[in-house]
Symmetry: D2
Subunit: 428 residues, 4 copies
């Protein structure tokens, strides 16, 4: 808020609303160390917002420095102008940190995608092996999601964080009292001082900036949550295809020395469980009556702060998670073998349908996979045998080849390449 009051004073000086020296006196007096923080907290309880007590302390501090400058503090302003603008600075700072960590994450994922472009693993749907994919494709999918998040964060950082300047009820009338010029002329220099956007109108009760930030926080949290949800599955003891890089002591259990808990994954999932609900409060707070609502504005403060905190943390953990991710191609291959050829039953269907028709094919494959449920390696032979019973010439060798999951990854490699290209275009 200090930064905001200083910027406001300087902007007012720039349009001749207050003397330039007063602005500089305010600027040089504005030292966080001089504030009585307990008094500020008490002030929140007394007035229902943190600005009233803050302005009164700041006025006293400035007065101590220069009696005449004190009356220029917070001139024409209202609590919400200061607090909303300070909130935008907070959002910018948080989103910049998020952006940095998302770039790290994207870089790490592009590396994994490239390294494992052809590492075959089981694709899973509804908890079951479905058809083969590659780990490259999986990493590429995560990368695409992170790039989507990056572009949305960049859009908000570039265009969606405005200063707030409206006075008591959005008319800037108190600012107008102190200047011959159009009070709206104050907006641009105020925004320029802080590097924020000059909004088309005051937004005290039109909460577009909060809604835009909220949406991007939900997006980032969900995007990282997707990655963490996958990692949580793939690091399971029985699956073991991935592991978090364990820093010494991190993720240690208090009772079980052998355990290495996936702490980054857990942290990301923890955030992902909370952010959508916090964002729903922020969306709900768009619905406010009057020029300032009784409660609607105030209810934004804590959820926004908390959502920012969680997403900054999630982005940081997401970077650590992806940069340190250990990949075990052998386990991927071993798991893939669990269902033998059944994992390519879709392909077998595609091959058989032109010969047997759709219905017959489905029946035959269902029978064959049921028969080999506990000896999946025998699927090719069983299939060949069943086809022979149908009077068809069936070559077990050919079926063995068709059942090889490595040969059934479709466009995985090309999609991986595309995602890497997209990454290069985004970060260039």
């Amino acid at each position: 808020m200090l930064t905001v009051e200083v910027a406001l004073a300087r902007a007012q000086a720039a349009i001749g609303m207050i003397p330039g020296e007063a602005a500089e006196t305010i600027a040089s007096a504005a030292d966080p160390e001089r504030f009585d923080w307990r008094g500020l907290v008490a002030g929140v309880h007394a007035t229902g917002n943190p600005v009233v007590a803050f302005v009164s302390q700041l006025t006293a501090i400035v007065r101590a420095a220069d009696e005449s400058a004190a009356d220029y503090v917070h001139r024409g302003s209202t609590s919400q102008d200061i607090l909303d603008t300070a909130t935008m600075l907070l959002c910018r700072d948080a989103l910049r940190r998020v952006h940095t960590d998302l770039l790290r994450t994207a870089g790490a994922l592009a590396g994994h995608a490239e390294a494992h472009r052809d590492t075959v693993m089981a694709g899973r749907t509804l908890t079951q092996h479905a058809v083969p994919i590659t780990f490259g494709l999986k990493a590429a999918g995560w990368l695409g999601q992170v790039l989507d998040a990056i572009t949305r964060v960049e859009r908000v950082l570039a265009t969606a964080l405005p200063v707030s300047l409206g006075g008591a009820a959005g008319t800037l009338s108190a600012y107008q009292e102190f200047t011959e010029r159009d009070s709206l002329d104050l907006v641009e220099p105020f925004a320029a001082e802080l590097g924020l956007v000059a909004p088309p109108a005051p937004w005290h009760s039109g909460r577009t900036p909060i809604a835009d930030v909220a949406a991007v926080l939900a997006f980032v949290s969900g995007s990282l949550g997707k990655i963490a949800a996958d990692v949580a599955v793939l690091t399971r003891t029985e699956i073991g295809e991935l592991a978090e890089q364990g820093a010494p002591g991190r993720g240690a259990s208090s009772a079980m020395p052998h355990k290495q808990n996936p702490v980054h994954t857990t942290a990301v999932l923890t955030a992902a469980r909370q952010v959508p609900a916090l964002v729903s409060v922020l969306h709900q707070c768009m619905v406010v009556e009057d020029e300032r609502s009784a409660g609607g504005w105030h209810a934004e403060w804590q959820p926004l702060r908390e959502a920012l905190r969680l997403v900054v943390g999630a982005a940081h953990n997401g970077a650590a998670l992806t940069e340190g991710l250990r990949v075990f191609p052998d386990r991927m291959r071993a798991n893939l073998a669990l269902t033998g050829g059944a994992i390519v039953s879709e392909r077998l269907g595609a091959v058989l349908t032109p010969v047997l028709g759709k219905v017959e094919t489905k029946a035959l494959l269902t029978e064959a996979t049921a028969m080999t449920a506990d000896r999946p390696d025998d699927l090719p032979d069983v299939l060949a045998e069943l086809l022979r019973q149908h009077g068809l010439d069936a070559d077990a060798h050919r079926w063995r080849a068709l059942c090889d999951p490595e040969e059934y990854t479709g466009a995985a490699a090309r999609l991986t390449d595309r995602a890497i290209e997209r990454y290069r275009a985004v970060v260039k």
Copy 2:
């Protein structure tokens, strides 16, 4: 889903994956009337998704038309490709209707803003009169919010609604089985058939499109909710500054013949209470494990459908509300008079501060407004008297002029003009 299967077949024909005649047979057989809808519902219960039974009925219908074409139905496809693409069509249809109604709303608001550019009314904060505003500014504020919503809806309509094409686990491998060409070549013609976007990658488990739609739904709902929240206040019996245009019979009470309920306002507020929570489910559903989640995908269906329905309804009611809104400037003036000059105490402060200093000024104004709480018209005289007691020369006439709320609306008129200009730029 029918439209989607037809588009898929035609796209497959376009790249030579299936015969062109087969695609046209599917297209001409695709008649909603031929489906057994009860059977489809039963199919959802049996398989957990609506596509399996649908494809099986469609296959039968096509087979009845042309035995040989049946095997080309749904070729290489998976439930999620069909359902997600159909969902995007649904979103497009809904958002187009929302867009149309938001434009109507913006037009109506621009009209109100222009007509009431200089209609003074009380600005209210935390339920209390604060400083004067104009109804033009209030309408301009609503208009700005609606324009923000329009630009966001347009962005989603133009760029954020892709087809889904990934096959069982995002590799398109089953499509690949049926063509010599790159299966990814199927994406562009499929998108072109439907007028949707070609996505950079399959999005079965990367839910960017749903998240983007969700965010815009929350935004529209909140924007209209803000307007309705204000109208609900201003139509109160005691305030009476606005009224919904009552169509005969609409908003009638079953027991109280004199009552005209604000039904459009109520409908918008009803939606606004629900949409943020539904959107939070959609954001939560970004966090899905595997190539398709057990529950994460399915949990999107109903909240998305419901949120679309609510927002389409809210936009429709919002248009009716704003187009039919009756404005009562006399009541605005009368209400403004309730607090007499106290509503401009901020201005009085600005005038007195240079003379008395900040602290003294506040004390004096607090005293004067307390003294005249139940006879607000006397404020100028009381002020003059108090100033005289402070040894200052005080002219009651001047104070009466300063206390005129009509003279204290700051940048309201200019902000109103700006919003109307912005409206013209957006709808041009």
Copy 3:
């Protein structure tokens, strides 16, 4: 609503407010078949609630039967009395079905707990094997959760579903107009007609009953969601300790004949993702202004209906899931062996601490488990060797016994017995 109007008429007849014959005429005319349903839907759009058109149709129907009885329809009543009471009937019906299915679920789980009281499996925390548990204990934990849900459903069914009777603004004044008796005397017979509770006061704007139902719906959904979340893990291809009983055709994939999707599990998880957000809307709708809110009441309708639908479905699927659950003790044992003795490292710590002290013990176990990470069976020997290096007498046999997970299940069996006892007490 028909049931409610009939009950109201009969209650009014019981206290002499209307003639008994009129009540019976209303009762016998009240046939859903006679209503014009499209007209009712149109009425909702016109008036913003479904009761106005309904009462007008009912009046016409009764008039057709007996001119004189028509004026007794809906006498003194208001939309909300009818709709809220009808909603309570709906809640009762839904919660009874939920209750029945929860009892089935509890029975199934008690059976599993008993059958697998001593079936050892891996306990998992943060996705990793932690210490051994039994499947009996796991089923007992689920059972406890379901019993908690049952007791809460029973409490709501028994005490929390009242009739609504308040008239236009909660004073019952319109009812009072038609009787010499105290209008409050109408409440008891009205409640008795419907088997609902007589509330202490009208609850048009005091939404205790909705909040109580909402809380129990969230509770049931979460309780079943916990079970489904566990089943989803344990049915994974690599883990395979549980499987849903596949009914023929259920859970079939449209493209992959070999797959059996866990459809009940998925359905329960689908509901569990949505219900908390719907419940949050209902909780939010407690905050309503006035004797009836503009939007607050209306926003309850759809989320409540949807939450009831989801929880009824979840309970039904939960019963099918648990009754048909297949348990594979061999896979449990095989998975348990994956980490060899490491899964009892906690126990080894307990044994070593008195000898080596806490710090030394932790270091030694961390070393031993790290050394045997990929040959877990060797843990006992490695431990014995390390202890010998510490100058301690170490018997490999003893360490092999200590490393047996079957011998380290603590109070699992006794806790299982307790849960079964509790089940018997609840269902007795």
Copy 4:
């Protein structure tokens, strides 16, 4: 957590698991001042939970006091036992404070209800005057809601806050290692030490206690929110029927000296906007996989803490709000007069229906209220005139009496008495 570790040690001493002296050494060493709080925070980051570092510091502190006692610290325990039990203590403390403030609120409301048993005011529905009520009834309605909240808080305090005791995966096996007795015997003395409930089973992944607390927090928040929503309406400048008692300096505006913001009301509404969403996170966190979830447990911490904080604050503000509430019966009467007799049109309908029939009556009243919309006092005369035109004998005096809102408050007084009686029964 300190309290919990001490209680655990004493309970273990009580069943002979550790020496009594060790327990007392731990108890006397357990001094919050001795902890390195920065180290604890760093520990959270390193291990993902606050217990690991805490136990290690506590062990060091105890070791410094008595080398031999150190090994008895946290014996057999796991982070979650300590943290969940500490959370229950926190919930108890918060709910006790809430309970105290709800009792104050109920007392204040009972006072208002009694004092204004016969103070007539306008009942409002959908923002419009509907029929007359009394302020006594309104206060009684709020009181009923608060009494509902009190009984639910009492139920949770009495029965729903258990200790957590399960060890690493709910089997208590590590506790079992250190005792010849049944490890379950530890539960009762542990609960007794802390005055908490002994649960039927460990609840690490069966989150009944959290869900119960969550539900009651949503209930309290919503109940107080209802009151605040009403007060926010009735304190509006134009309505002015209620006002918050302004403590000097409280609710002051930074820019507008005349304004007295309703800060308690705003604070309660601020909480009410947030709590339902936080509660939805807690309900969602019932759905956790495994014996301890990766993220599901951790995601409870902050929302629970925040919801407790908000509800404690709301209850405190609710008490201040209701105790200091100023009531203005004159304004209530004046506002009631705004709609003249129209506010009793429902009654007029009841009187006319037997004479004119339902349809005719509605038409006539709609006409009469439309004709007198801007001169409501003339309604009785206009009605009498219209009736005469219908050939009915109409006495203007009688109609004037029927139009008196004071005579049309139905069961308001009796409902007020009942609520006060109920209050006395609850607080007795």
